[in-house]
């Protein structure tokens, strides 16, 4: 019987249990998938703590995975048995085997390995959402990215740079500053030493930036709003420091764009999903976006992975390997 990491109640990482799990046969439109890797994302810790509802308990967390199709149900046309696939933004990847809707699976090209897919699909398609959907970023634009050395930050900053934008990143330490610089940032602000508002104003000659991408939330959001140039965009899509205030809409300055984008909205529908995934594979293939896998854990050690992620000891992407 395959195993899975099961969360019986929300709270600390100690609540994860490695348990055998019955996985049935795929129903119509479904696939049984054997994971090779699961991705780890900061949002997983939000679900584990209960910041976001994880669904009925016990629950299997994890929103990103790669593997091989083991069996297909009726009416499945998107993938076939034996095919390498990956997915993001579908709960339940902390498992050796799972069932999943076939329409949510992205076929993997030969030159994209399973671990790279599990390390990149969620963050990479989120980067695509920010840079192509929330705002079309291009040459001449200036982008401010908070937590530029974080897992998602490395994707967004490199990709924005490849699109021709000037990228300003904020980080919380000297080591992270070097990392952010190596992964796309033109300017890095260590907010533990500098006032990022004053620095961004200085760097933009007082004009502000084309877009602020803020997954930090509460601690930075109001300041971020003040740094957006006329006709610029402020996107809030995470809550590392607590949720961003939702009533900012009331106080938004004129001719700025505010959005709380979500990846499920961006990749709703087969075509939108494949467009985002293929755009990501393309920038990886060209070397414009390098996928840094900073940590590897065995899936059953996910509790340790959560602890390291929450204590800021991780760098880049983390994958959880699944031995059959």
């Amino acid at each position: 019987m395959p195993n899975a990491v099961v969360l019986h109640q929300v709270g600390g990482p100690e609540n994860f249990r490695w348990e055998p799990m019955v996985v049935g046969n795929p129903g119509p439109g479904e696939v049984r998938l054997r994971h090779t890797f699961s991705g780890l994302n900061y949002i997983d810790t939000n679900f584990r703590r209960g910041d976001y509802p994880p669904g009925p308990l016990p629950a299997i967390l994890g929103r990103e995975g790669a593997g091989v199709v083991e069996a297909v149900g009726a009416d499945v046309t998107e993938v076939h048995v034996g095919q390498r696939v990956a997915y993001a933004s579908v709960m339940g990847s902390y498992a050796e085997v799972r069932l999943i809707q076939a329409e949510r699976l992205v076929p993997l090209p030969e030159d994209i390995s399973d671990d790279v897919a599990a390390a990149s699909l969620l963050k990479g398609m989120t980067a695509h959402m920010l840079l192509a959907r929330v705002r079309t970023i291009g040459a001449g634009d200036t982008v401010l990215y908070h937590a530029a050395a974080g897992g998602l930050g490395l994707f967004v900053c490199q990709w924005a740079k490849a699109l021709g934008a000037t990228v300003i990143g904020t980080v919380g330490s000297q080591e992270k500053s070097a990392l952010a610089r190596a992964y796309g940032c033109d300017h890095v602000i260590d907010y533990t030493h500098e006032d990022f508002v004053a620095r961004v104003k200085e760097l933009t000659g007082g004009r502000g930036v084309t877009a602020v991408f803020d997954a930090v939330g509460k601690a930075t959001f109001e300041k971020s709003v003040s740094l957006v140039a006329p006709f610029g965009t402020i996107a809030s899509y995470g809550a590392a420091s607590g949720p961003a205030p939702r009533d900012v809409a009331s106080r938004l300055p004129i001719d700025r764009f505010l959005i709380y984008p979500t990846l499920p909205g961006h990749v709703a529908g087969r075509q939108a999903l494949l467009t985002a995934a293929n755009a990501l594979f393309d920038v990886i293939r060209r070397g414009a976006v390098r996928v840094r896998i900073g940590q590897r854990y065995s899936l059953k050690d996910v509790a340790q992975a959560h602890r390291d992620l929450e204590s800021r000891r991780t760098v880049g992407s983390t994958v959880l390997s699944v031995q059959g």
Partner: protein, 321 residues
């Protein structure tokens, strides 16, 4: 000295008085103009009654006008005496002559009358701004526009038709529905007897509108949000008073929100004049018709206010000095 219609204090139409006022010589970046036509907008009645704050009495009302350049300041380079010009959103229009910052003025091209310019400039660049900067509309797009039979609304209907944009307009009566349709609205919703959220869903096959333009405010914004397609834009925009004071407390996921205001545009002279030129081009080609249905002598402005507040007017009103 020139004549001006001034509100002596906040109040009804009887506070308007036909006064002598002096006109300052233009400073370095200013221009003095002699008005040929002055637009009357509903906002003027709010300035008169004191509903909107910020009016210093005695106050020359009016926010848009057209005229001829008489003199230019030492550093003014764009215009020369004799040029036909107009402006939006500059208080102090109900007078024979005034001095004004050169950057606020735009040229009136051949094929557009002074009356049309005075009645249309504010609404025209507002729609240009909404359709280009607040959300760039494309042929085939579904958009929702509230108060589609109002002054800005009828321009939006005509502009949308010209662009191939499918505009759904909300209106308060059957007559207004007919007016919006005649001006190019693809669909109209009489919101007094129909639920506009349900109707928009039906009309768009469930997808909603890629842009929703809402200058109505508190009573509509929460329902307007429900009409926006995923990754579409809700745009609230204010009247001639400037920035919108309409708010939403809570923005749902994956919906863009912006407060459109031509104040930003006016701060950028090149973009501002390009927007005005685009609008006037459509007016000269008769793609957008400015219906100046009521003309009063400037000194009879009180009657214009009475008729406007009594809902006896349709289309645009101008005052003639």
């Amino acid at each position: 000295m020139v004549k001006a219609l001034r509100a002596q204090k906040a109040g009804g139409v009887d506070v308007l008085a036909w006064d002598d006022v002096s006109v300052a010589a233009p400073a370095a970046h200013e221009v003095s103009i002699r008005h040929t036509a002055i637009g009357v907008n509903y906002i003027d009645t709010y300035h008169r009654s004191g509903t909107y704050p910020g009016t210093v009495f005695p106050a020359i009302l009016g926010v848009e006008g057209a005229g001829v350049v008489e003199a230019v300041g030492s550093a003014a380079r764009t215009f020369k005496p004799g040029d036909r010009v107009c402006y939006p959103l500059a208080r102090g229009a109900y007078c024979e002559s005034r001095t004004i910052a050169e950057n606020l003025l735009v040229r009136i091209p051949e094929g557009v009358s002074d009356d049309e310019a005075a009645a249309g400039i504010t609404k025209g660049i507002t729609v240009q701004h909404l359709f280009n900067r607040s959300h760039k509309v494309r042929p085939g797009d579904w958009v929702l526009f509230h108060a589609a039979a109002g002054g800005v609304g009828l321009f939006a209907c005509q502009w949308a038709r010209h662009l191939g944009v499918r505009l759904i307009g909300t209106v308060s009566s059957e007559d207004k529905a007919k007016a919006a349709s005649n001006h190019g609205a693809a669909h109209t919703i009489v919101y007094t007897r129909e639920n506009f959220v349900d109707r928009v869903k039906t009309i768009t096959g469930g997808s909603g509108c890629i842009a929703v333009y809402d200058a109505v405010g508190k009573t509509t914004v929460k329902d307007s949000i429900k009409c926006v397609a995923t990754y579409g834009t809700l745009c609230t925009f204010g009247s001639a008073s400037g920035p919108s004071d309409m708010t939403i407390a809570d923005l749902p996921p994956s919906i863009g929100y912006t407060k459109g205001s031509i104040m930003t545009l006016i701060g950028r002279p090149e973009e501002y004049r390009a927007a005005a030129a685009e609008f006037f081009d459509l007016v000269a080609k008769k793609i957008i018709k400015i219906e100046v249905n009521h003309r009063y002598a400037l000194r009879d402005g009180a009657q214009a206010h009475r008729d406007l507040e009594g809902r006896k007017t349709t289309g645009s009103i101008i005052l003639k000095p």
